[in-house]
C-alpha cells in the first residue's frame, strides 16, 4: 500500500495534515456529532469526547512523526474493548471511526481544491485500515470475554456441598473433560480434609453421556478419595447411562453406585450409623446410634 503513495499524492497528504491542524476544533466537533448519530454513539457523551479527542491527537501525531501508529492503535484497541464489554456491535465501533472521513470530506468539499481531494483518497484508506483494526480488536476482546466466562463456568459448575455431618456431595453438571475433573477432584479432596468427612457422593445426574474418559476420571477420583480414607458413592445413574456403561464394558468394580442422590444419601447415612425413622404424621426423627 505504501508504494502507491507517490510524490503526487504527497502534496495531497500534506494538505490533509494542514486541514487537520487548522480546523481541528471544527473537524472534531463534526466527528463527535456524526459519531453520536451512530447507534449507541450517544451514550456517555463525555467519555466519547475525551476518547475521540485523544484518538484525533494520536492520528495527527502519527502523520507528523515517523508514521508510528502504536499509540493510535493502542487507543483504538481500548475504545473497541470498552465497547465490546458494553455489548456494542463491531460495526457500530467501526462506524464511529469511519465518521472522521465524513467530517474531513465535508471540509474539503467546502474548500473545493483538488490537492485536498487527492489527499482524501489516501486519508480514506488510512481510516479504513484503522476501522478494520477496531474490528480485529473487537474480536480479540470478545474472545477474551468468552475465555474468562469459560473459566468462571469451570468454577461455578463444581460446588462441593455438605449433605450431613461427615457426608459431602459433588453434583456434576455438563461435560466432564480433563480440566473439569481436575478441578472437581481437587475441590473434593480438599473438602474431605476440611470437613473431616468419610463419605462422598458424586452425583452424575447432570452429565449427559458417560464415555470411557469420563468413567476413567470418575474412577480416579474415587481411588484418590479412598487413599484419603473416604468412601465414594456414585449416584444419578440413569437407565440409558447404565445401558451404555454395560455395553461399553466399563467395570465399576466394588464402587457403590445408586440411581438417585436420595438413595445415595440414605446409603451413606446408614453407613455412618445414622438412623432415619419416619415418625407419626410427617415428622422425621433422626437418631445417631453413638449418641445413645
Amino acid at each position: 500500500m505504501g508504494a502507491i503513495l507517490t510524490v503526487q499524492s504527497d502534496a495531497g497528504r500534506r494538505r490533509i495534515e494542514e486541514l487537520l491542524q487548522q480546523h481541528e476544533e471544527h473537524v472534531l466537533k463534526r466527528w463527535l456529532e456524526i459519531a453520536a448519530t451512530t447507534p449507541g454513539g450517544h451514550t456517555d457523551r463525555g467519555d466519547m469526547t475525551a476518547r475521540l479527542t485523544e484518538i484525533y491527537q494520536a492520528l495527527r501525531q502519527s502523520f507528523l512523526g515517523s508514521g508510528d501508529t502504536s499509540d493510535l492503535r493502542g487507543l483504538l484497541a481500548e475504545l473497541s474493548r470498552s465497547r465490546a464489554r458494553q455489548g456494542f456491535a463491531p460495526t457500530e465501533t467501526a462506524n464511529v471511526v469511519f465518521g472522521l472521513k465524513q467530517a474531513v470530506f465535508e471540509l474539503i468539499e467546502g474548500d473545493g481544491d483538488t490537492e485536498g481531494l487527492k489527499g482524501f483518497i489516501w486519508f480514506s484508506r488510512t481510516i479504513d485500515d484503522l476501522g478494520l483494526f477496531t474490528f480485529e480488536s473487537y474480536a480479540t476482546a470478545r474472545e477474551k470475554i468468552i475465555l474468562d466466562q469459560a473459566e468462571q463456568l469451570l468454577e461455578l459448575s463444581t460446588p462441593v456441598v455438605k449433605l450431613w455431618e461427615g457426608i459431602v456431595a459433588v453434583p456434576l453438571i455438563g461435560t466432564l473433560d480433563s480440566a473439569r475433573t481436575q478441578v472437581v477432584m481437587e475441590k473434593l479432596l480438599q473438602t474431605l480434609v476440611e470437613t473431616g468427612s468419610e463419605h462422598a457422593v458424586i452425583d452424575i445426574t447432570g452429565v449427559p453421556a458417560v464415555d470411557t474418559q469420563v468413567a476413567q476420571h470418575l474412577l480416579k477420583t474415587v481411588v484418590a478419595a479412598r487413599l484419603m480414607g473416604a468412601e465414594c458413592v456414585i449416584s444419578g445413574i440413569r437407565p440409558q447411562i447404565a445401558h451404555t456403561i454395560v455395553t461399553l464394558g466399563i467395570e465399576f468394580g466394588d464402587i457403590v453406585t445408586k440411581a438417585s442422590l436420595a438413595d445415595a444419601l440414605a446409603y451413606t447415612l446408614r453407613q455412618s450409623g445414622v438412623q432415619v425413622t419416619k415418625g407419626r404424621g410427617t415428622r422425621v426423627t433422626v437418631r445417631t446410634e453413638e449418641g445413645d
Binding site: T175, D177, P208, A209, V210, D211, Q216, T244, L248
Partner: protein, 135 residues
C-alpha cells in the same frame, strides 16, 4: 454442509469433541432414535472423536441420516490423517490401549452401534464408519 441432512464437523480440540457430541445427539433425535440408543451413539461418537483427536492429532466427522426401507438411522464417518493402526485386531481388543485410557473406547464403540467398519493402515490414517438404526 454438503447436502441436506448431512454435515461435516472438524475435530481439532476438546471443545470440538463436545460439539460433535451435541450435534450427534440432535441428529439422533431427528432420526427417531430412542433415548437409550441416542445415549449409546453419542457415547460412541465421543469415543471415536476423541480417538481421532488423541491418536491422530485431529480429523473430521461426517454426520448423516440414512434410510433403509421404513427404518431410519444415523451414520457417522470419522476420518483422520494420523499414523494409522498397525494391528486392527489388537486395537479392537478390550483393555488394549496405547494412550493410557481404559482400552475400551474402540471395542466398546463397536458394541454400542449396529454397524461398525474400520479401515486403517500404518501411515494412511484411519476411517471409521458406524451406523445406528432406530428400532
Amino acid at each position: 454442509m454438503t447436502s441436506p441432512g448431512e454435515q461435516l464437523l472438524p475435530i481439532n480440540s476438546n471443545g470440538d469433541v463436545v460439539l460433535v457430541r451435541q450435534q450427534v445427539r440432535a441428529v439422533a433425535i431427528q432420526a427417531g432414535l430412542s433415548l437409550v440408543d441416542q445415549t449409546k451413539v453419542v457415547t460412541a461418537a465421543s469415543e471415536l472423536a476423541r480417538n481421532a483427536l488423541v491418536y491422530a492429532g485431529g480429523g473430521q466427522v461426517k454426520i448423516e441420516v440414512v434410510r433403509n426401507g421404513v427404518r431410519s438411522g444415523l451414520r457417522l464417518t470419522f476420518s483422520d490423517d494420523g499414523p494409522g493402526i498397525p494391528d486392527i485386531e489388537q486395537a479392537l481388543t478390550d483393555g488394549w490401549t496405547t494412550g493410557g485410557g481404559l482400552g475400551l473406547g474402540l471395542s466398546g464403540s463397536r458394541r454400542l452401534v449396529d454397524e461398525f467398519d474400520l479401515q486403517s493402515a500404518p501411515g494412511e490414517g484411519t476411517l471409521v464408519t458406524v451406523t445406528k438404526w432406530s428400532r
